[in-house]
Amino acid sequence: MEAVMLLLFLKRYKLETSITSYCKIKNNTVVVNDKQYFKGTESDELSAFLGALYKQMDLSYPKFFKMDKLCKLGTLATELVIRNNIDLDNVPKNEIALVFSNNSSSLESDRNHANSISDKENYFPSPSVFVYTLPNIVIGEIAIKHKITGENAFFVSGKFDADLMHNYSSILLQNSAISTVICGWVNVDGNSSEAFVYCIKNLNFKQENNVFQKQHNLQQLYSL
């Protein structure tokens, strides 16, 4: 009931928010705040591409290699959003929310797990594969890496739903201790993969030191 009231409130007094940084990863190309950051070889499989991006980012995080592709993709995209967002270091970790979505859930890991248990004569389900058979694990990996303790949610929907993401983020910014929301569409299904991760704040956030001040329409930014 409270959520419905808030939605009605938001429709009448639309909360103005600002995207303070974003990262898109698609077709082996990484764009951060309108600029190409990295381009892999076109023929690279997703795993090889993500490994090359990890090296390019000069990360040192051994747990990365244990993640499934969905978590690797979400973790790297979020890392680039955080790195390119001035002031985020000063935001208390319990004021940062993570709101992600996709349309394939954890299908890639679900398939891997199903394959590992399909042969009854060779039945050795892998705990490290099984642990990734939920889509919201990507949120957990990001929260662990950056010690983020604010609200989190993961939605599975047919396509990127800009209204849903905006409304949910707005509710968090309006009605809780949350001051920053990192949102994302992170999807992996076979050879198809895509990440669109962005950081959103209230417009009353001081923008003079911000590297990315454009007031993008969310759906337009996703569709670029």
Partner: protein, 86 residues
């Protein structure tokens, strides 16, 4: 089965099974702790090690209370494999 041979095999199998991409077999000290300071493995890795022993050596952990001692190091794992493989 010789303990040294099992140690050599276990090092490669652990790296592959646990996706320790930045670790090489020669960097693993057979007597170093696997959990905590050593390779820094976690609880999911512990479950993978149980599967590894069963899948590759047909060895099951009979008493869960023994697991901590068995998985203390590569050396203790190899000792358990040699003592319990058929």
């Amino acid at each position: 089965m010789e303990v040294q041979e099992v140690i050599k095999n276990l090092k490669s199998q652990i790296i592959e099974q646990l996706n320790l991409e930045e670790v090489k077999p020669e960097n693993i000290d057979a007597n170093a702790p696997l959990f905590g300071d050593g390779l820094g493995l976690d609880s999911i890795d512990a479950l993978e090690l149980i599967v590894l022993l069963e899948k590759n050596y047909g060895v099951k952990i009979k008493d869960p209370k023994e697991a901590k001692a068995i998985f203390a190091s590569v050396q203790t794992m190899a000792d358990y494999v040699v003592a319990n493989s058929k």
